[in-house]
C-alpha cells in the first residue's frame, strides 16, 4: 500500500504544477474567488464569446480528439494572417509600378519584413490545407447531419472564400509567378457559358463579360491589382470573419461540434 501511494506521489500532474497554475490556473479561466471583479469579467467575456460551453458532458469531452481541432486551427491561422497582413499593408501599395518594389523592400530593407511576409505566405498555405482537412473531418464524423446542415453549407462557402482570399493575395507581389498564375485562374471566367466572352453561346463582348468584373478589363493589369487588393484586404476577410462568427454560433446552437456535448 505504502509503495503504491509513493508511486502515485511521484507522478506529476501538470495542472497541479506552479507554472501551469500561474499561467492558466487562477489567471484565466480557473476557479475564481466568488466576488473577484476579474472573475466576473472573464465569465462575461466567455459568455459573449460563447466559443466553448462552460461545462461539457464527459461523453462529449471524450469525442474531442486531435482531428476535432482542425477547424479551430484554421481560425487561429486566420487571425495570424490578419495580424501579419495588417503589418504588410503598411509597406504595400497596390500599384503595378511600385508593388514589386514594395515586396523587394520588404525582403531587404524593412526590419523583419521578410519574416512577416514569409509567415503570411506559409500560414496562408497552411490555412487552405487545414480548412480542407477540417471539411474531411466534418464529413467523416457525419457532422453535417441534422441539425447542422446549414452549418455545412456555411462551411462550404467559407472554404470557397478561403480559396478566393488566397488566390487574390497571389497576385499582389506582381511577379511572373503571380501574373501568370492569376491569368490562368481568371481566364476560366472568360470561358463561362453565356456570360463569358470566349465561352459557348457568348452574349457579352470582351471587356464587358463576367470576367471583366473581376479583372477590370480584358487582361490582368492595374485595375485587376487594385480590385484584388481590395478583395484580399477588406471584402473577403470581413466576409470570412462574419461567416465564421455565424459558423461558431451555429455550432453552439446545435449543441456541439458533432455529437451532443
Amino acid at each position: 500500500m505504502e509503495k503504491q501511494s509513493k508511486e502515485e506521489d511521484k507522478k506529476i500532474d501538470v495542472k497541479e504544477t506552479q507554472v501551469w497554475k500561474a499561467v492558466f490556473g487562477d489567471l484565466l479561466f480557473g476557479e475564481f474567488k466568488p466576488l473577484s471583479p476579474f472573475n466576473s469579467l472573464m465569465r462575461g467575456i466567455a459568455k459573449i464569446m460563447q466559443l466553448h460551453p462552460y461545462n461539457m458532458s464527459v461523453g462529449g469531452r471524450r469525442i474531442i480528439t486531435y482531428t476535432f481541432c482542425l477547424g479551430g486551427l484554421s481560425v487561429f491561422f486566420f487571425s495570424l494572417l490578419a495580424c501579419t497582413g495588417a503589418f504588410l499593408m503598411i509597406y504595400y501599395n497596390p500599384d503595378v509600378n511600385s508593388a514589386y518594389a514594395n515586396i523587394e523592400d520588404m525582403r531587404y530593407i524593412v526590419p523583419f519584413g521578410v519574416l512577416i511576409r514569409n509567415m503570411h505566405r506559409w500560414t496562408a498555405h497552411l490555412m487552405v490545407m487545414f480548412v480542407a482537412l477540417h471539411m474531411l473531418r466534418v464529413f467523416l464524423t457525419a457532422a453535417y447531419k441534422p441539425p447542422r446542415e446549414l452549418n455545412w453549407i456555411v462551411g462550404v462557402i467559407l472554404l470557397v472564400m478561403t480559396l478566393l482570399a488566397s488566390f487574390t493575395g497571389y497576385l499582389l507581389p506582381w511577379d511572373q509567378l503571380a501574373y501568370w498564375g492569376v491569368t490562368i485562374g481568371t481566364s476560366m471566367g472568360e470561358n463561362a457559358p453565356l456570360l463569358g466572352a470566349k465561352g459557348p453561346f457568348a452574349i457579352l463582348a470582351p471587356g464587358k463579360d463576367v470576367n471583366s468584373i473581376l479583372v477590370g478589363g480584358t487582361s490582368v493589369g492595374q485595375p485587376t491589382l487594385l480590385r484584388f487588393y481590395l478583395l484580399h484586404a477588406i471584402a473577403i476577410p470581413l466576409g470570412i470573419a462574419g461567416l465564421m462568427g455565424f459558423h461558431f454560433w451555429r455550432i453552439r446552437r446545435a449543441g456541439g461540434v458533432s455529437g451532443p456535448l
Binding site: 464527459v58 471524450r62 464529413f139
Partner: protein
C-alpha cells in the same frame, strides 16, 4: 479514459466505466441525475456528467496556438516565400501554373475545354458539396465518430472525390514539366519533351451521343435494379440527383483514361449555332 460500457435496457441509460482518477475528477462536479457511487456508475444519461470544459480547453488551445506560431516562425526564418522577377505580360513562362489549390482545375484543362474544366465542373462540385446533407438519407448514424462500416457508401464516394482532387493536384504540381507535359520524378524537367506524334481523334457524333446515353443509362438504371434496398432508402429524387452527380464525377477519370489509352480528344463534339460544344 472513461468508456461507454453497455446500453442498459431502458432507453437513454448508459453505464460508464471510468478509472478511479476519473471518478475523483467527475464526482465533485455537476451530475444532474441519480447515480451510484463507485467506479462503475449508473446514470440516467451519459450527458449528465459534465466537466469544466472552458477552464480546461482554453489553456490547451493557447498552448497549441503558441506552438504553431513557433513552428511557422522557424519555418519562415529558413524558407523564403517564392518571388520571381517582375511581371512581364509579354513573356509567357513555359511552365505557367496556377496556385497549387487550383492546379486540379488546371490539370483538367488538359482533358476538357476551359468552359467545362474551369466553370461547369467546379460549379457541379460546389452544388454537390452543398447538397451533401440533403442527399444523405441516413440522418442519425455515425455522428461524432469515425466509422466506415455504418456509412460505407457516403464515406467511399466522398473519399473518392476528395482523393481525386488531391491526386490531380499532386500530379499537376510534381509530375508536370514544361508545356504541361508529363514528367516522372527522375526525368529532367529542364529538357523540353517532344509532343506526342499520334494525332488525337474524336468519337463520331452518333458514337458520342450513344456513349453518353448508354453511360448515363447504365449509371442511373443499373444500380436501381441491382441494389433495390439502396434505391428504396434514397427515394426517387435523392437517388437521381446522387447518381447523376456520381456519374459526372466518374466521367473525369474515364475521360483521362480514354485520352491516355485511346488518344480520344473529345467524346462528343457538337456544333450548335457556330459554337463548338466539346465534351
Amino acid at each position: 479514459m472513461a468508456e461507454l460500457k453497455e446500453e442498459s435496457k431502458e432507453k437513454g441509460e448508459v453505464i460508464v466505466r471510468m478509472s478511479e482518477r476519473e471518478w475523483e475528477y467527475v464526482k465533485n462536479i455537476n451530475v444532474k441525475g441519480d447515480y451510484k457511487e463507485g467506479f462503475e456508475t449508473l446514470t440516467p444519461k451519459e450527458q449528465d456528467y459534465t466537466v469544466k470544459h472552458l477552464r480546461d480547453s482554453v489553456g490547451i488551445e493557447f498552448l497549441a496556438g503558441l506552438i504553431f506560431t513557433f513552428i511557422i516562425m522557424v519555418w519562415s526564418l529558413f524558407m523564403d516565400a517564392p518571388l520571381k522577377e517582375l511581371a512581364n505580360p509579354a513573356d509567357t513562362p513555359i511552365d505557367e501554373r496556377a496556385p497549387w489549390y487550383f492546379i486540379g482545375l488546371q490539370e483538367m484543362l488538359i482533358f476538357f475545354d476551359p468552359w467545362l474544366a474551369g466553370v461547369i465542373i467546379p460549379s457541379i462540385l460546389l452544388v454537390g458539396l452543398i447538397l451533401v446533407p440533403f442527399i444523405d438519407p441516413n440522418k442519425e448514424t455515425g455522428i461524432g465518430r469515425y466509422t466506415f462500416r455504418d456509412r460505407p457508401v457516403a464515406v467511399s464516394v466522398f473519399g473518392f472525390g476528395f482523393a481525386m482532387w488531391y491526386i490531380l493536384i499532386i500530379i499537376g504540381q510534381f509530375f508536370r514539366g514544361p508545356a504541361r507535359m508529363f514528367y516522372w520524378p527522375w526525368e529532367d524537367k529542364t529538357v523540353l519533351k517532344e509532343m506526342p506524334v499520334s494525332e488525337m481523334v474524336n468519337f463520331p457524333i452518333t458514337g458520342g451521343i450513344a456513349f453518353f446515353v448508354l453511360y448515363f443509362g447504365i449509371c442511373l438504371v443499373l444500380p436501381q435494379i441491382i441494389f433495390k434496398n439502396f434505391y428504396k432508402t434514397l427515394g426517387v429524387v435523392r437517388y437521381y440527383i446522387f447518381m447523376s452527380l456520381f456519374a459526372i464525377m466518374l466521367l473525369i477519370p474515364i475521360k483521362i483514361f480514354l485520352r491516355y489509352v485511346f488518344d480520344v480528344k473529345y467524346i462528343l463534339s457538337l456544333q450548335i449555332f457556330n459554337t463548338a460544344l466539346n465534351f
